[in-house]
Amino acid sequence: MAEENAQNAIVDYQFGFHDPETATIRFDSGLSEKVVRDISELKGEPEWMTEIRIKAFHRFEQMPMPKWGSDILEQIDFDSIIYFLRSSEKTEKNWDDVPKDIRNTFERLGIPEAEQKWLGGVTAQYESEAVYHSIREDLEAQGVIFLDMDSGLKQYPEIVKKYFCSVVPYSDNKFAALNTAVWSGGSFLYIPKGVHVEMPVQAYFRINAKNMGQFERTLIIADEGAKINYVEGCTAPTYSTDSLHSAVVELIALEGSTIRYSTIQNWSANVYNLVTKRGVAHANSTIEWVDGNIGSKLTMKYPAILLRGEGAHAEVISVAYAGKGQHQDTGAKVHHLAPNTTSNILSKSISKHGGRSSYRGLLQVTPKADQCRSKIVCDALILDPESRSDTYPTMEIGNSTADIEHEASVSKVSGDQLFYLMSRGHTETEAMGLIVNGFFEPFTRELPMEYAVELNRLLELEMEGSIG
């Protein structure tokens, strides 16, 4: 029955195909200190990294599973997960050198085509490690470092040591501890002073094997006055058993720099997506999270920004779509730690076919953060009586000069809107699709054009059969 359900799901989910496993190294399922040491040894890491991994592993074991968020968390069986699987002996710079099966997968996902057209660099991660990596020569010449995280640690250990765990300590939460213990792959990106990278750089994460755990670690450092737009996409095949994606992303925006981090998460409906994303914004810098959550069984993701320097700005735009059997528990956290800092949070969600979407947010203004301003807007649409939408915002205001606004609303698509569009010749399904695309428009307009088109198409697919 479960297999049958999975097969049905494959029909609905366009990236649900999978290739035969061609692992060169595959650990047995289950987690122990030996597994952690073996991963570190296999990668030839410095001792300090092994020590952090071991400490994080013990912390992971000590920390209880969170009691809040979702009951689905209890279903995670850490012993059934594979914590490391290497599919390719090395990270290739030439697309033709990538193993054929993997190359086919990414070609079906449109990665090489997109790279040629509009990307400044690409990392493609398959299972635990990057299989392909490239960066435009002109960016490399300007001193931009864009590597997979394993290569970053090998080639720039001082920079990694300085910033690794500086924004998300391994003791931050259970899943950050797990990631720190078994991390593999991810992106390492350094943009030198004053360099503006106009074309986005992209990372694409793909889980292919059953019961796989993907634990990438991303570290982005924008030096003073630098600017970067990083785009991330994720897919996985549909299996009847569950996979776990537990990433940690750390952003450091030094004075006057700008980092935009865009994600379109489209994991299949058997993936637990439990991610810790956090950035530190120094004086007059900007961090923007543009976060789309379409797939996964359970997503718990609250991109956070620490506004540490005067005049820093935070922007979070997120959308979530919760369909059958899905729980999108997403949100944003902004900590105003310095004067004259500003933030905007816009969250939009749609629940359909019994799906549940939740906004969970924190806005904190500390006593030293004079004259800061923040605006939070959460809008939710519920498309049928089986679905659910929740809003859990927290505001902690410790400074009397702060100017804070929050508003949220939950509603259904109005009959008047549908009627108006249908009177113009659209079918009910088309009308609903148009309204939903319009609802998400503040998000899609922030994406690169190709991503926006893809997102609209995904939403149209998801919306099929919404009526009646």
């Binding site: 009586p385 679905s387 915002p393 927290t394 205001i397 100017d403 804070i404 606004e405 939950v410 509603s411």
Partner: protein, 336 residues
């Protein structure tokens, strides 16, 4: 029903107890059941109350020696509750029908006071509680209201007395057509800690609720407003809204707001909003040019801000009582 001592102390991860944990509002130690004095109620008859599985309600029930029943039928009632002694507690059960008004004034100089109110509303009831406790008092208040078909509850609170306040108000809109309007105004001064939690559950379709909480925070006071609006599955046609506003009057004041929504039905309207800001210097300047001192100007703005919390309350008698009490309170603060 399990006894108080068998109930686990709630963790701070639960919003209700995040900012004022049970340990802090308990009068002694959490594993103790102290002997307390009884409240004086100016109205009502004695009755036998029942306990609860919720820790605060169970505790008040356990320590309380006085339970009073009040039936309101198309009437306006003034109820004075006086707390005395080092610790004092009491329970009040209300049953109202027709168009009734209940004005509760809670006064006295206890170290700790515990008040539990349970109410059933048929028809229309407007109830206001004016907290006039002495400035050192701690108050634990728990309300449970059930509103019947096509009935309406207006509950208002002026919270200006006492030092440490923890209030937990729950309203159950049990049948179609029931509605409630909630309004709370809190004035934080010196190092006062005022924590209000309101849960409104829409258990039937075509039920309406509005909740407005305004907190003016001066000195090193700490204001906490948490709310949970729940619309259950099938409660179509419901309309729920909550607004929390904080006016921060001094650099050391703090305000927290957690307005939560849980919506399990699709044909509904649900919204919430929250805002925090300081008094605009232009407003102070404008009033000063009209001859007011800066403290008088500030007081006038605070009065307007706090009274605005009751904008949805239709009962004029209730509004008058609140305004009178608020003016006296603010005048005492301005003139010492």
């Amino acid at each position: 029903m399990i006894s108080y001592l068998d109930i686990a102390v709630p963790p701070r991860s639960v919003h209700l107890w995040r900012y004022t944990p049970w340990k802090r509002i308990h009068p002694t130690k959490v594993d103790e059941v102290p002997t307390v004095d009884e409240f004086f109620f100016s109205e009502g008859i004695d009755f036998q109350s029942s306990s609860s599985d919720e820790i605060a309600r169970s505790f008040i029930h356990t320590v309380s020696k006085k339970s009073v029943f009040l039936e309101l039928i198309d009437q306006i009632t003034d109820l004075n509750i006086r707390a005395s002694g080092h610790m004092s507690a009491g329970e009040l059960k209300i049953k109202s029908s027709g168009n009734s008004t209940l004005i509760i004034r809670l006064s006295g100089e206890p170290g700790w006071a515990g008040l539990r109110i349970t109410g059933e509303v048929e028809g229309q009831l407007s109830v206001v509680l004016v907290n006039d406790l002495a400035k050192d008092a701690h108050l634990l208040r728990c309300d449970d209201w059930k509103v019947s078909r096509d009935s309406k509850l207006e509950f208002s609170t002026l919270s200006s007395g006492g030092f440490l306040i923890k209030s937990d108000i729950r309203v159950d809109l049990t049948q179609p057509g029931s509605s409630c309007t909630g309004a709370i105004a809190s004035h934080g001064h010196e190092s006062r800690h005022d924590d209000h939690h309101v849960e409104i559950i829409h258990n039937a379709g075509h039920t309406n609720s509005t909740l407005v909480i305004h907190s003016a925070c001066g000195g090193s006071s700490h204001s906490v407003s948490t709310g949970l609006l729940t619309i259950v599955k099938g409660a179509d046609g419901s309309d729920a809204g909550q607004v929390f506003r904080n006016l921060l009057l001094s650099p050391k004041a703090r305000a927290e707001a957690i307005p939560e929504l849980e919506v399990l039905a699709d044909d509904v309207k649900a919204a919430h909003g929250a805002a925090s800001a300081a008094i605009s210097p232009e407003q102070i300047h404008y009033l000063c040019t009209r001859g007011l001192s800066p403290s008088q100007a500030s007081s006038l703005i605070v009065e307007g801000f706090l009274m605005d919390a009751f904008r949805n309350v239709k009962n004029q008698k209730v509004i008058d009582v609140i305004r009178t009490r608020l003016l006296v309170h603010l005048e005492c603060l301005v003139n010492g």
